[in-house]
């Protein structure tokens, strides 16, 4: 059985945790919402989910997912292990490499350092949602190809999510600035020259588009 139920429209809000950022852990600990009944939502591995499981609704790339979660689940592990959105990569799990970079309400975050429950009520954007529905590539994706800003490709989804945010933040106005604001994303293959060139190339196209 698949572990998510896709809702086109909102369902009973009482079943949703909609905490503020500060309130999440309190809410999850003090008043967990447990869904035990079959058919409401099902965890991927129900046996492992104990009394502290939480039910959440999380929006990823515009799709709502109702999930039962171990509250310790990171956003990265949720995306990768539960939602099969494996574009975001685990390179360190400690916020040190940037391979897991996704957007939360449009801002870049390390999804390994973001608890999944922190994403409740916010918009999660991943590399899988970057291309147009037509399949046309985002200008940043095309620029990464054009400048060969990758080798093994493992850091690439994180680089591209960071790069898009870097442009949107206004931090892509010079090569020096790009280098500085892209330094949270390690590329062990050493594709940095291409990455800087790609961002400089894509930035005006993003603004135009």
């Amino acid at each position: 059985m698949h572990d998510t139920i896709h809702h086109a429209a909102a369902t009973d809000p009482a079943k949703q945790l909609q905490p503020t950022r500060r309130g999440i852990m309190i809410g999850a600990v003090a008043a967990p919402i447990i869904i035990g009944a079959a058919g409401e939502a099902s965890g991927q591995a129900p046996g492992a989910l104990g009394a502290d499981a939480v039910a959440v609704r999380i929006s990823v790339n515009g799709t709502q997912h109702d999930l039962l979660l171990d509250p310790r689940t990171s956003l990265l592990d949720l995306l990768r292990e539960r939602l099969d959105l494996t574009g975001a990569k685990k390179g360190c799990d400690h916020g040190q490499c940037g391979a897991c970079t996704v957007h939360l309400d449009g801002a870049r975050v390390a999804s390994c350092l973001t608890m999944a429950v922190q994403a409740v009520g916010r918009r999660v954007g991943t590399i899988e949602g970057v291309s147009a529905a037509t399949g046309a590539l985002h200008p940043m994706q095309q620029a990464f190809i054009d400048h060969d800003a990758l080798q093994c490709g493992y850091c690439t989804p994180g680089q591209i999510m960071a790069a898009i945010a870097c442009v949107q933040e206004g931090h892509a106005t010079s090569p020096e600035q790009i280098r500085e604001y892209m330094s949270g994303n390690i590329c062990r293959c050493g594709a940095y020259v291409g990455i800087v060139a790609a961002i400089a190339d894509a930035a005006p196209k993003m603004q135009a588009g």
Binding site: Q44, G91, C152, V193
Partner: protein, 733 residues
């Protein structure tokens, strides 16, 4: 021989990679997969007295906990350098003995990753602790002279040509200096990960590896099952750099657990655990003695190396293979020693010996230029050679002098003022310009290549090689496309899968020189076979047109190919997952790739911060098949050189053993802000001897010499000669 250069085209798998669509091993997230994690030893050496896994086992969602109690009957897979398959001879969890800090002691499998991690933290272990030793300044008993060791000769024989000691003693100008390097770790961005699943007695392993065939045969041997029952799949590796060159310690654990549970298991080795779970670049010390006459002719050199190995394996040291070849020096003596330390066995990390051998030797050459008052480019040009100094054989091709000349011109070397500390920029930063040469063996491995063309204009090709970002898929597609007249995106490449052709280990920069000529040979065989389908009528027609005219849906060919001078017995090694390369020493010639690096550093006068704003690198790697990915590979190699010279060191913990800075915040890798302009140029001239395509190799030579060029530039900027890597601000205070 192909004489035409290849066009600059986009990386063939980039479209998937920029969409996050490429699936690496740990991206397998099918529902119901179980998650495994390791628990590791916290002592430097000793043995497990007791291990209490009860709390872990009792945790809700835990499905299995394995320790040496369950796994002691695994068969050894052997060490890669001793006729086996493993990254080391020691397989964790098969005995209570602890050989090094961080050695895995237990595997936990649970329904979720969160539970697995919690359970692993609940394991309690009591140890009997024994003293450990981690450094190169070891007791005599821990030092092994390689020449006298059981390591096979002549492969691991000390280089000895002429009478280096006597000639050096008489030399008018003498350099005698010792250079050293810290331990470094590969740290590819992709973590080691194994997904293991069993179906009807057959095991499938998804793992990013550079050696699918070795993993297959190794794990089969460990489990005592025929290799035919194991399939290893590694279509895309998220960076290898030598770390993933063999059977890793975690693979059999995932396979064993998956069999025990009747369920697929995903085991990802955490970044902190990786510093002890796989190999590393050994700490080394190099004493170089270099003698020349007053005119600058290098007459003799002596290269003595101490390199770290483990207590349980001898990881060979082959530094002089390259240092003896850099320049035309008639008298050369090397002595390689191995120092036993209580670590996991060190291994191959990009340019494993060449990086440090050339750092040491090319620093010494710079010191010689300084002593002679000569320009370091001119000194190297004056000592060029076209004959192999070690064997006296001809070199298949050597365009190092052209690399140096082109690089000097592009860099603007003529504007360099010779005296150290004599160049500054407008803000008062010290400018230093440094140069160094690099070389790396041009080796070749045997390969089987299969090719099928279809009447719809597509093709399917399989050959033994792994894609880890070097661009081999792009190179294969480019070469096949040119031969067959089929567009690159119509060619499916089945590589890194042991269900296709034998997947020989892809390391040592032999991937392209092995796989591309094999694929092209298969394409030639295909063209002949197609011509036979339509005798006299095939000319001018595409493969698909010929097939349709002949009423065939598809046509298959297969070829096998080996290095010049290799016996047919190498195909047995190929088929059984054992390394079977040859080079640089072929029967009739010796073959190396070469590179020249020109580096500018800027040193901030008060903080002494070192920046590398620009690098120019000119490479002689024979024919370039995929110019765009090749240029990226060189840039990546330069970034590696910058990291090795200025950033990376794994800090040894003398109290408890192991490496202290085992994460990516404290093991400092180069980031974007550390890297400036890197200009790359290729000689792009086909080697006439090593293979029909004229390909040598590139992935490792790209890094060789970068660190020396940086240290030489730092000396030029500051007058301070730094001989230990990495160079840090405090060394310039």
């Amino acid at each position: 021989m192909t004489t035409n250069t290849f066009p600059d085209v986009a990386r063939i798998d980039a479209h998937d990679k920029v969409r996050g669509a490429t699936r690496y091993a740990s991206d397998d997230s099918r529902p119901g997969m179980l998650h495994a994690t390791l628990a590791c030893a916290t002592i430097g050496r000793g043995s497990i007295q007791s291990i209490d896994t009860s709390a872990a086992r009792a945790l809700r969602g835990v499905r299995l906990v394995l320790t040496h109690a369950e796994l002691s009957r695994l068969q050894p897979a052997g060490f890669l350098l001793a006729g086996g398959y493993g990254v080391q001879s020691l397989q964790p969890l098969t005995s209570p003995n602890i050989a090094y800090f961080g050695q895995p002691i237990a595997l936990v499998v649970a329904e979720t990753l969160e539970v697995a991690l919690q359970a692993a933290a609940l394991i309690r272990t009591a140890y009997a602790v024994e003293p450990h030793q981690m450094g190169l300044d070891a007791p005599e008993a821990d030092i092994v002279a390689q020449q006298e060791s059981p390591l096979p000769k002549p492969m691991f024989e000390d280089v000895h040509v002429g009478d280096a000691d006597a000639v050096f003693a008489q030399a008018a100008v003498q350099i005698d200096a010792t250079y050293a390097s810290a331990v470094q770790h590969h740290n590819p961005m992709e973590l080691l990960a194994t997904v293991a699943e069993w179906s009807e007695g057959r095991l499938t392993i998804h793992e990013g590896t550079q050696n699918a065939e070795g993993v297959r045969h190794g794990v089969a041997r460990q489990l005592g099952i025929p290799a035919e029952q194991v399939r290893v799949i590694s279509p895309q590796v998220g960076g290898g750099f030598g770390q993933k060159n063999s059977l890793q310690g975690q693979t059999v654990l995932a396979a064993f657990a998956a069999r025990a549970l009747g369920h697929s298991v995903k085991l990802v080795v955490r970044r902190s655990q990786l510093f002890h779970a796989s190999s590393f670049r050994a700490a080394t010390r190099h004493r170089i003695r270099l003698g020349a006459d007053h005119g600058g002719t290098m007459l003799a050199a002596i290269h003595e190396t101490d390199a770290q190995t483990s207590r349980h394996d001898l990881f060979p040291s082959v530094n002089a293979e390259v240092s003896a070849r850099l320049h035309g020096i008639a008298n050369f003596r090397a002595r390689e020693r191995l120092v036993r330390t209580d670590t996991q066995t060190p291994g191959y990390m990009r340019a494993p010996f060449e990086h440090m051998a050339c750092f040491a030797f090319e620093s010494a050459v710079d010191e010689l230029a300084q002593a002679l008052g000569q320009d370091p480019v001119a000194l190297r040009l004056a000592n060029d050679t076209q004959r192999d100094p070690v064997t006296g054989k001809p070199l298949s091709s050597r365009h190092l002098a052209e690399c140096l000349r082109r690089g000097a011109a592009r860099f603007g070397w003529a504007r360099r003022s010779m005296a150290p500390g004599s160049m500054q920029d407008a803000e008062g930063q010290l400018i230093g310009w440094g140069v160094a040469a690099g070389a790396y063996k041009a080796a070749t491995a045997p390969a089987v290549a299969r090719l099928r063309v279809y009447d719809d204009g597509t093709a399917l090709a399989s050959v033994g090689v792994h894609e880890m970002g070097q661009g081999i898929r792009t190179a294969l597609a480019a070469a096949l496309s040119r031969k067959l007249g089929i567009e690159p995106d119509q060619i499916t490449l089945d590589i890194g899968d042991t269900n296709s052709t034998p997947q020989h280990i892809t390391v040592g920069s032999w991937g392209t020189a092995t796989a591309v000529p094999a694929a092209v040979e298969a394409a030639d065989a295909m063209l002949s076979a197609l011509a036979e389908l339509l005798p006299g009528d095939a000319a001018g027609r595409s493969p698909a047109e010929i097939l349709r005219a002949a009423g065939r849906r598809s046509l298959d060919v297969a070829i096998r190919r080996k290095a010049p001078g290799q016996p047919d017995a190498v195909f047995t090694r190929l088929a059984t997952g054992l390394p079977a390369p040859l080079g640089p020493n072929y029967p009739d010639f010796v073959s190396f790739s070469y590179i020249a690096h020109f580096v500018e550093v800027r040193v901030e006068p008060t903080t002494r911060r070192i920046r590398v704003p620009r690098v120019v690198s000119v490479a002689d790697c024979g024919r370039v098949i995929s110019p765009r990915t090749a240029a990226s590979q060189v840039r990546g190699g330069v970034v590696w050189g910058i990291g090795a010279a200025l950033r990376e060191a794994s800090e040894v913990d003398p109290r408890y053993g192991g490496f202290l800075n085992a994460d990516l915040a404290d093991y400092v890798l180069p980031v974007n802000a550390d890297i400036g302009d890197i200009e790359v140029e290729f000689i792009d001239r086909a080697d006439p001897l090593v293979n029909a395509m004229g390909i040598k190799g590139l992935g490792e030579v790209a890094m060789v010499g970068v660190a020396a060029a940086i240290a030489n530039a730092v000396h030029h900027a500051t007058g301070i000669r730094l001989r230990d890597l990495p160079i840090r601000i405090e060394h310039l205070m």
